[in-house]
Symmetry: C2
Subunit: 337 residues, 2 copies
């Protein structure tokens, strides 16, 4: 991180024709990106969205209102241009790469989808580990390789998103384990469980935590036992992004659980994370607090698919344009306070 570039950006902000600090978090974004990108002209563009899909054995416990077939159906919809993230990526002119890391049924080749299947979904965490150590390594490496591709292709901002029916359950279990909190502190309705459904989901997560969590478990062990292929891939992507100096705009609840795991594995990852929005999923707030994060938006989103991060991209763009294009007091002949 380039402290001199950040300082220069801060000085420039104080010379732009506006009361000092009056652009609030937009100033903060420009200064932060200047430091992360090491340049007086920060910009989020090109934006790279990495979309990881996978299925989850714990769906068998009835923790989602949607049938598991929806994961593959939505992968097709995302690739075909009809999903929220498809519309947003197109509207924002953001690059998107979609990777199937292991849905229950192999859908065969789908245009614009990379097939890097690790297995037909994970194990049911209420009864067994989500994945083996080898599968965890494969998932994390898939994410790391995707982040490498993003850097190599010139991306200046990374967004990760996920699609996987039932994946708020492993995300909640992982976050509970990492934060040493009970299921009840983080559990929520996901895509739309009713109150009895949330209670059942909490029981499933409690069972998973009892089975897999002991005080000596490392974050990697918790990822293998409690997470999912897409969650682990995003953790890997975030670690590589930080190592390669690529800023990350974190999406909502599930992505934040992956980001939390990345920070636990490599604390310096935290410096590379910007937080896009506060999710309607209630446990998100606890994860944000643990990461000392104050998301930019609060729009009651709970869709996933990187949609919340995508919606925040214009704020980053406008912040950078204001930083670069506004006149200084001297240039404009405006008197200072």
């Amino acid at each position: 991180i380039d402290a001199m570039a950040a300082d220069a950006a801060r000085r420039r902000q104080d010379q732009l024709t506006k009361p000092r600090g009056s652009l609030g978090r937009l100033e903060e974004i420009a200064i932060r990106l200047a430091g992360l990108q090491g340049t007086p002209t920060p910009s989020p563009d090109p934006v790279q969205i990495l979309l990881f899909a996978a299925d989850h054995g714990v769906a068998a416990e009835g923790v989602s209102v949607f049938p598991q077939a929806v994961t593959n159906q939505m992968v097709r919809n995302i690739a075909g241009g009809g999903a929220a993230v498809s519309v947003l990526a197109r509207a924002l002119d953001a690059r998107m790469e979609i990777t199937d890391l292991g849905t229950v049924e192999d859908p065969g080749p789908i245009q614009n989808v990379r097939s890097e299947r690790i297995g037909p979904g994970t194990g049911n965490i209420a009864r067994e580990p989500a994945m083996t150590d080898e599968q965890l390594a494969a998932a994390m490496n898939a994410g790391r390789a995707a982040a490498e591709r993003a850097v190599d292709s010139g991306a200046r901002l990374l967004i990760c998103g996920e699609m996987g029916i039932a994946n708020t359950t492993p995300a909640t279990a992982l976050a509970c384990a990492l934060l040493d909190l009970p299921a009840g502190a983080l559990v929520g309705p996901g895509t739309g469980l009713d109150q009895p459904g949330v209670a059942r989901k909490a029981e499933v997560i409690t069972k998973a935590l009892a089975r897999h969590v002991t005080s000596d478990r490392t974050p990697l062990e918790l990822l293998a036992r409690l997470s999912g292929f897409e969650l682990a891939a995003m953790t890997g992507a975030f670690i590589t992004a930080a190592q390669r100096g690529l800023p990350v705009l974190v999406d909502g609840f599930i992505v934040s659980a992956s980001a939390l795991a990345a920070v636990r594995l490599q604390p310096e990852v935290r410096n590379w994370l910007l937080f896009s929005h506060g999710s309607a999923e209630p446990g998100h707030r606890r994860i944000m607090t643990a990461l000392a994060a104050d998301p930019l938006l609060d729009l009651g989103l709970r869709l996933g698919e990187a949609s919340g991060a995508a919606v925040a991209v214009p704020l980053l763009r406008l912040a950078c344009m204001l930083h670069q294009q506004m006149a200084t007091f001297g240039e404009a002949g405006v008197s200072e306070a």
Copy 2:
């Protein structure tokens, strides 16, 4: 307002490939705009920004950290492309019209600035009325005519902004009078007063309220006595926008005071107002509460110039694109919950 168009939009949102309600306030925006614009394909574009500038006699009381000459200097800067709103209008491809309603010194012709000067600034509200009834009518008519031009040119969203050194003082006084609150409940630092400066400003506002407010004053009388040319123009613009069926995206503190006056004059105006952001100016929250408004963004902005409303435009655009371009469950072959 077209309730059938809003209902149709709501039904469409429930058929799009996402959990119901999972796009939160983005769904709400699309449904709201569909109802206001009376169409299944709502859109904020073209966006029209109306920027009104004027000076304020109360500046003589030392209520701003900037000298009064800055109003004219900033009008030049806005017209010349160097101000925040200039950068934002360009980035967003929004139309902008700048009108000088009366700065202290007539700057002569400025390219891209309409000169509709009502006087060399207002009277000092601590000692006299801000303007005469004739001046109030001229200011409101200037705003009404600008809104008419916006409608006639095909604008589908109206944003008003202001530039006027010291204008948080009349805005605060006006809001206090309309809300029957003392100065201390709404006063704040504006462009950057320190604590003693805020205390002095509160005294000035208290004096103005004592001089001009009685229980039988109408909103029009309060506008004449306590506001400013740009504040009254925006009130007029909002009334015309509502009458002509043009949705309004309200900027921060000062614009909200004008909007409050418009709603007091014509309660149905409220239906046409969307609220862009919560200002860092502390009194803004009280005005939002009075208008039952829940602004979309909270970025600590306190610049004015329509900047906060402009920053929210991409959210409206993305909300409308998602509404129009996402596939339905049926179209995409995705199973429902």
